[in-house]
Amino acid sequence: MLKPNITKNTEVSSNQKHNQSPFKLARKRFLRNKLAIAGIAVLILFILAALFAPLLTQHDPTKGDLMLIEKPPSSEHLLGTDSSGRDNFARLIYGARISLTVGFSAMLFTLLIGVITGALAGYYGGKVDNLIMRAADLMLALPFLVLALTIIAILEKVTVGIFVAVIAITSWPTLTRIVRGAFLSLREQEFILGARAIGATDIRIIFKHFIPNAIGPIIVNATLLMATMIIVESALSFIGMGIPQPTPTWGNMISEAQNIRILRDHPEAWVPPGLAILLTVLAINFIGDGLRDTFDPKSNRR
């Protein structure tokens, strides 16, 4: 017979206010980070502008008026028109749609590939690990931009979907390595052995035990990846290898500045998209840094 042990148990914890899950604690820490909150505010502003673009301007960002080429700012065209007579302001806010979509979906796609390959490599090890990591090494050995350029050059028509796929296929190895590394360090922990000791399946161990404990570095890197993706889109569009005209993207707008006359006389055409890229990337990076501080094991008292 077991005596009611509660009475003699002297180590029952002191009364705690409420039960805080590790995620709630992390969120609390994150919300204390002012820069990260500013980043989120800026990003939300851009997202709202992109979503409500039709309400902010009546102009069609893809249709040009050849009678109105390279006009300076006016009440009709807030940021003037470009070399094809398209409204720059309309292109800027519609461009936010494309740039943010490309950044976000490329990040998601990369995350999907990276987490699956990284999880397989880190969990199973051995031959699976070798195969995946050698493939990753191969991809990393090729310069990213050149590889992306080559694939785009081979493809005849580049749509947003294809563009996202190209970026994701060329940039997954970084994330794979991070996920694999996190899995390898977790694999040695006793709670993973404990999960195996109760007879949990591989799927359950990966999704219930590995991923929640590796979520920190995954989220941080995914966020920073999104910033990189936006820059990559702009860079490729700038040299005319991105999403083709007349689709408005920030990179496409900056490529106008390749013309020395526009560069000199019409800063209103290329400064706003440049600033938009700068602010977005900066905002995302601040969010990423905030998340990194949140998940940092040193600040995470267990």
């Binding site: 005596k3 914890s13 039960n19 805080q20 899950s21 007879g199 404990n213 267990r302």
Partner: protein, 352 residues
């Protein structure tokens, strides 16, 4: 050799025969196997229903590996494990899964053995979720029953591991191990990471639970006083081998193997009587299990080592009731006197 023909009345719940676990050591450019680390080297033992078998040994003696091999968390290199006469050694993972209900484990590190992202309720219910088809409500009821059984409060189930102390976490681990009503539990140093006052609480809890639920424990520890407190029988391991196995009282009263004697002599006591009785003292470290000494593994540190120890590996031989020892000194084939108190080597060591 092994414990056969003994206590046929108490049927063994677990029978381990000549189990070996060699970890390959890879090296060179092509990662070839260049050697083996003999973590568990030819161990046979049996555990009867309801008893506690303690396993003691220094760090690196292979006790944890033995526990993990028995629960098939690591595959054995050779040998067989019989659970209630069913050979579980070669079972595939999926085949063995239902058996895990009956064979559970409590881990050493209370801070590493609980997933910090899961609440106590999730942690304690997880074995039921994996092993049974109970409904959510039934699982919850059972979890509360066991959380209270290990001395925590039902309200604690909504908390997360970081809100608990080491001893409380170990209670959670125990609840998690017990919830599927297992018969056999491997306790891998369950109290060695706890404060001494908490150790006693957890040990007593485990003892009470054993009585109430009829559990069988394989209790791994390096702390002899802990083992003495909880075990019915004790096996002493050295470099992957069992050197002595005996009922607890016998082992602590009449240790026969020089290594056991040295271990017992190393227990610090508060008021040690100054006696002339020399004690065996250990010098140096345990040799690497990758490159164990020839013959008797203990000979490099044994004050009684002689020629034969170098050439011949001693095997477990009956020494008394349920008492088996693997030492050349005790089989009477040598001129060397049995653990002589007059041995000049011993005197010298004991003075040092």
């Amino acid at each position: 050799m092994t414990k056969q023909n003994k206590n046929i009345a108490d049927s063994p719940i677990l029978n381990v025969r000549n189990i070996k676990k060699y970890f390959p050591i890879k090296g060179g450019v092509f990662k070839r196997t260049i050697g083996h680390l003999k973590a568990v080297d030819d161990i046979s033992l049996s555990i009867n229903k309801g008893e506690t078998l303690g396993i003691v040994g220094e760090s690196g003696s292979g006790k944890s590996t033995l526990g993990r091999v028995i629960l098939k968390l690591i595959d054995a290199t050779e040998g067989s494990i019989l659970y209630k006469d069913t050979n579980i050694t070669s079972m595939k993972r999926n085949q063995f899964r239902p058996y895990r209900r009956n064979m559970q484990m409590v881990f050493q590190d209370p801070f590493g053995s609980l997933n910090s992202k899961m609440s106590v309720a999730e942690l304690v219910e997880e074995p039921l979720l994996v092993q049974t088809s109970l409904s959510k409500k039934e699982r919850q009821e059972k979890a509360i029953e066991f959380i209270e059984k290990v001395g925590l409060r039902a309200e604690d189930r909504l908390k997360y591991p970081h809100e608990f102390s080491g001893g409380q976490r170990q209670r959670i681990s125990i609840a998690r191990a017990l919830i599927t009503n297992p018969e056999f539990i491997v306790c891998d140093e369950p109290v060695s990471a706890l404060d001494i006052s908490i150790q006693a609480q957890v040990l007593n809890l485990m003892k009470d639970l054993q009585e109430e639920l009829g559990l069988t424990y394989l209790f791994i520890a390096h702390d002899l006083s802990v083992v003495k407190h909880i075990s019915d029988r004790v096996a002493v391991m050295y470099l992957g081998k069992i050197v002595e196995i005996a009922p607890t009282s016998t082992l602590f009263k009449e240790p026969a193997h020089p290594y056991t004697q040295a271990l017992l002599a190393s227990i610090p006591t508060l008021n040690k009587k100054k006696t002339d009785e020399p004690t065996v003292k250990l010098k140096g470290d345990i040799p690497s299990p990758a490159n164990p000494p020839s013959g008797c593994a203990f000979r490099t540190r044994c004050p009684f080592a002689h020629e034969r120890c170098e050439k011949e590996t001693p095997v477990l031989a009956t020494q008394g009731v349920q008492h088996e020892v693997a030492c050349h000194l005790l089989d009477g084939q040598d001129d060397v006197p049995i653990a002589t108190k007059s041995d000049p080597t011993l005197k010298k060591i004991s003075k040092a």
